[in-house]
Symmetry: C2
């Protein structure tokens, strides 16, 4: 158990390091106001805190920097979450614009979030787990090509272009689309293919000539491969952090950020509420020297999206936590307002 004095010193070291990115020495710390102890005393405590694993040295005669354990303790025990009203207001103003599309809200929020922090932000759209089909359309483009369009009850639109081997009979097409709409409206997107195969195939066989030829195409339309829609803000902003001084680091960071699958992997286990993952606590190799802070936003029945911020372990946790919880709330509110019933 740490003493009061140790807590104070640990906190001041971490606060200072987060601000300046320079190792903190005993003399400099002693000079600060609110620091009633002498440099020598601080040195002793620092040595103890280092033994306990909360601090580190960059070399034998350097000042101290927080270890990952130090940050962990800091995040868990030392930061009284402040609520930054001016930033909150900025977020609210942004989101309260008359934008009715999740994609745009997400894109803009991601940019603003990065602008306010100089870290890189990622916003994931909710998976479509619970969204239901509102309407299905198939629009013929030529005699042998068509574009299929799915609209969900949350206003999400997906489309897929197809090329057919045989000509389309317009009246057959109409029949198929009518039957599909009739039977599939209200069915969750993820179950479309299954319901189609189980319940509708037979029906269609009865009503539509040559249905066998179309079977694969329709199956394809309904086979829902979850596309991961994500919006990234401020890939350049993070270069302002002194931690990104060497190019190989920038390179590996940017390479990772270009890989959507990896980012999805990174964020797949997001829990509700704010969660902070520091350095090696992260499972993905490429960000083992960064911190990731995540939260979720919600709308409809169980629609969950993710908001994340990626920065150096020397992150302004206090500010970032407050920002993320504000944004989570604002986005949930706005989405709830736009899609009240769904």
């Amino acid at each position: 158990m740490l003493t009061e004095r140790q807590l104070l010193i640990l906190q001041m070291i971490i606060d200072d390091f987060i601000e300046t990115a320079h190792p903190v020495g005993s003399r400099a710390l002693a000079k600060k106001k609110n620091m009633p102890y002498s440099a020598a005393t601080i040195r002793n405590e620092m040595a103890d805190l280092e033994d306990l694993g909360f601090l580190e040295k960059t070399h034998s005669s350097s000042g101290r920097i927080p270890s990952e354990k130090g940050y962990r303790y800091y995040v868990d025990h030392l930061i009284a979450p402040i609520s930054d009203k001016s930033n909150k207001k900025i977020l609210k103003d942004i989101i309260d614009q008359e934008i009715y599309e999740l994609e745009q809200i997400a894109q803009i929020s991601a940019e603003v979030l990065s602008e306010l922090t100089n870290y890189t932000s990622i916003i994931l759209e909710p998976e479509l787990l619970e969204t239901k089909l509102k309407q299905l359309q198939i629009v013929p483009l030529s005699s042998r090509s068509a574009v299929a369009i799915l609209v969900t009850d949350t206003g999400h639109v997906e489309h897929r272009t197809m090329k057919m081997k045989n000509d389309i009979d317009p009246s057959d097409l109409e029949k198929v689309v009518n039957i599909l709409n009739d039977k599939l409206q209200g069915v969750p997107i993820v179950r479309l293919e299954e319901v189609f195969q189980r319940e509708i195939t037979k029906l269609l066989k009865q009503y539509v000539r040559n249905f066998d030829e179309s079977y694969e195409y329709i199956k394809n339309i309904l086979a829902h491969e979850q596309p991961v829609n994500l919006y990234i803000g401020g890939k350049a902003n993070i270069l302002l952090q002194p931690e990104f001084r060497d190019i190989s680091k920038i390179y590996s960071f940017l390479t990772m950020m270009e890989n959507k699958e990896q980012i999805a992997e990174l964020l797949k286990n997001t829990k509700h509420g704010i969660e902070v993952t520091i350095g090696n606590e992260n499972e993905i190799e490429a960000i083992k020297d960064l911190s990731l802070i995540t939260t979720t936003y919600h709308f409809g029945e169980g629609q969950v999206g993710t908001i994340a911020l990626l920065g150096p372990t020397r992150m302004e946790y206090r500010k970032v936590i407050s920002l993320l919880s504000s944004l989570s709330k604002e986005m949930s509110d706005v989405l709830h307002k736009y899609f009240p019933s769904s």
Copy 2:
């Protein structure tokens, strides 16, 4: 007018510098095969070429590097376009996959292009100038919100979510959509709003109660703000170029690449055929020390998209020109195959 010997020396210097990124000295050049002159002769010619503005020195006793004028001459007169068959094949294989959506073709092509060159590539979708409306749909989400969907004859899908002040009457909606489709099918996307205002407003007033309430919403749907759809490949790859050694340069480059408007500005005047813009020939400040090489691809009647590659002025022009003209051809071919009539 340059002598044969000057041409040879200029060409060899530029080739060498493009390959190694190191200033080229007379002794090193003299040692190469195909170089029948001595170091001293080369030195004299180099001095002349420098006087003529084709070469530069980085400092008084350094080897020579090409000036922008040198690159310009090189591109215009010294590179016999080679056709790199293996790369051509890669491109063809990529594009010949069963992808029927321009967006995906563009995205994948952009990535491959960057992978093959280690420069940053940009592919712009064609403007919709000539595309025509195939079908319009309005899908109600709740009593006061709906999503409008436009499908063009090229299979392009756009959608917009709206929030209304008053409840929607389903039968009115159907009437409106039917009339709109009836009158607007085949009308170029860019003229939808105009035709609507001029020819359809009156008609709708006759058939639909309270049409005035809906007027603004429909106008909004049809008001086509050209969204610039662009796909970027390899923002990280370009860091492999030694020219991107300092972070401030990386920062300004990435910042520019995050600004879609600026990129659109950059590419708005693309001419048909391959075009190379070197260093200060570029009008945008942020890329005055880079080279931009562009070409177009085509489909349908006058649908023109842009392919671009952005790299250091020390670019492998020969390779890049051949790659871009292959890709332009491949993309045009594929698109023509998918949308033959349009």
